[in-house]
């Protein structure tokens, strides 16, 4: 059953037509990845789905409800979380406060349990829960950004380039965590530059090129597709 369905989405920055009729869907329990070169429109797509940007036209259906153009703050409580490009943790707040913000829409009584869950998954964050987020390392900030997104207990977790700027060993770790989250029942929409890694853990994939989806299919098949290999797997 499809948890997220995007149909013929058009998004503009002023007069720049950034997304030109993108359609895709994410079924419950899947990991779906959106790959593409710099500037293809991956972040724009995620930001629009999450409600940070309004589409010019097109439909976004999440969990059976039309959410195109609905502000992010109203979509979050419905079970969607975006861990944005560049992490965007609240630099001047503590690790714990960042996580509390992640649970902003949940009742106070459920926060401490979710905090425990996140601390179990990311022991590093527990050690540093009183540290100011801006002083964390890049890898730790990524973990914080993911932990923060998980605090809302999302049905759909969208990750925008979680491996950006991280050392290979940390990239492995982040991808392991994504797989664990998936096994624990979270549906995942993953945007990555690191197409190799993304395809290796995804069920299905879409290839985005200058605002259009040019290919879609089973991740394993795309991994062996000649065009994809040439363009994205080097």
């Amino acid at each position: 059953m499809s948890l997220l369905k995007v149909e013929d989405l058009h998004v503009y920055y002023g007069s720049i037509h950034a997304i030109k009729g993108v359609s895709f869907e994410v079924n419950e329990g899947e990991i779906v990845t959106l790959i593409g070169a710099n500037g293809a429109g991956k972040s724009t797509t995620l930001n629009t789905v999450a409600g940070l940007m309004k589409p010019r036209s097109g439909a976004v259906t999440f969990d059976g409800k039309a959410v195109a153009g609905v502000p992010a703050s109203k979509i979050v409580p419905q079970g969607m979380a975006l861990c944005p490009e560049g992490r965007r943790v609240f630099q001047q707040m503590t690790v714990r406060e960042n996580l509390e913000m992640g649970g902003y829409t949940r009742p106070a009584s459920e926060i401490s349990e979710s905090l425990d869950d996140v601390f179990t998954r990311f022991p590093r964050l527990k050690e540093r829960h009183r540290q100011i987020a801006g002083t964390l390392s890049g890898g730790e900030q990524q973990m914080l950004a993911m932990g923060r997104a998980l605090m809302s207990k999302p049905k759909l977790l969208m990750l925008d380039e979680p491996s950006m700027g991280l050392a290979p060993i940390l990239v492995e770790q982040i991808f392991d965590i994504v797989q664990e989250l998936h096994r624990a029942g979270t549906t995942i929409l993953l945007v990555e530059q690191n197409a190799q890694m993304a395809l290796s853990i995804a069920d299905r994939a879409y290839v985005l090129e200058t605002g259009n989806i040019v290919k879609e299919g089973i991740a394993d098949d795309l991994m062996h597709d000649d065009d994809v290999r040439k363009a994205y797997l080097g």
């Binding site: 992010a72 703050s73 409580p77 560049g86 609240f90 001047q92 902003y104 829409t105």
Partner: protein, 294 residues
Amino acid sequence: MIQFLSYLLNGISLGSVYAIIALGYSMVYGIAKMLNFAHGDVIMIGAYMSFCAIQYWSLPPIAAIVLAIVVCTALGILIERMAYKPLRTATSLSVLITAIGVSWLLQNIALLIWGANPKSYQSLVNFGSLTLFDGQLHITSETFITIAANIIIMIALTLFTGKTKMGKAMRAVSEDKGAAELMGINVNATISMTFAIGSGLAAIAGVLLCSSYPVLMPTTGSMPGIKAFTAAVFGGIGSIPGALIGGILLGLIEILGKAYVSTELGDALVFAVLIIVLLVKPTGLLGKKVHEKV
């Protein structure tokens, strides 16, 4: 010596008013990244409201203060909705010009309603005065209450932004609106609330200011507004302790400067100090370095 003590207390008291106004500037700047130049005029409206409540409607002082707070809070929300919200994505120059326009608008509305003649404001917090050192030192209740109000407000706001969910959300919004929205925080409502709090504080500042310096006219808020803005920059805009320290120091410099240096140059001295501080430390005394996003 006792004379000096008296100047010191007056300086701290005036500085407390500046600090309360500076808080409003600072909070609004922190969240909306704009200088709300109309903030000083909200003070004036608050003072007029409380003046009318006492003079024309014969309300008790506490009711007059509450009325002033309620009106200014509503006014702050209204100004944000009507004037600034439509400009959320406009250049900062347009916002600045709009703010100056709102400031003039408020002054002219006041002129229209209450006229240009100064009103003599009757202190709302006059409970007599304390006389010490064989009558050489008078400390008025206005001085006490202004300083006490400042301390209470600072503590309350520190607790609010540090401990409450709403206060933390406010800090989140002031750091990154997009990320805050992704947390489920209603950014517009949070900005509105910040204007409401800042304007409510402006009302209190207006009452306290006019209780100590009882001349009320449509331009009453301008100079304190500019000085409080200076105080906010001085202490580090966006910081609560910064507003406190900036405000108090400014009040002290002004009063002591007028007493010991020159009555005429007192104000100039204030701005000279600001320039020196900004040359040495551009972020202000307690200003945080802004982390550049990667």
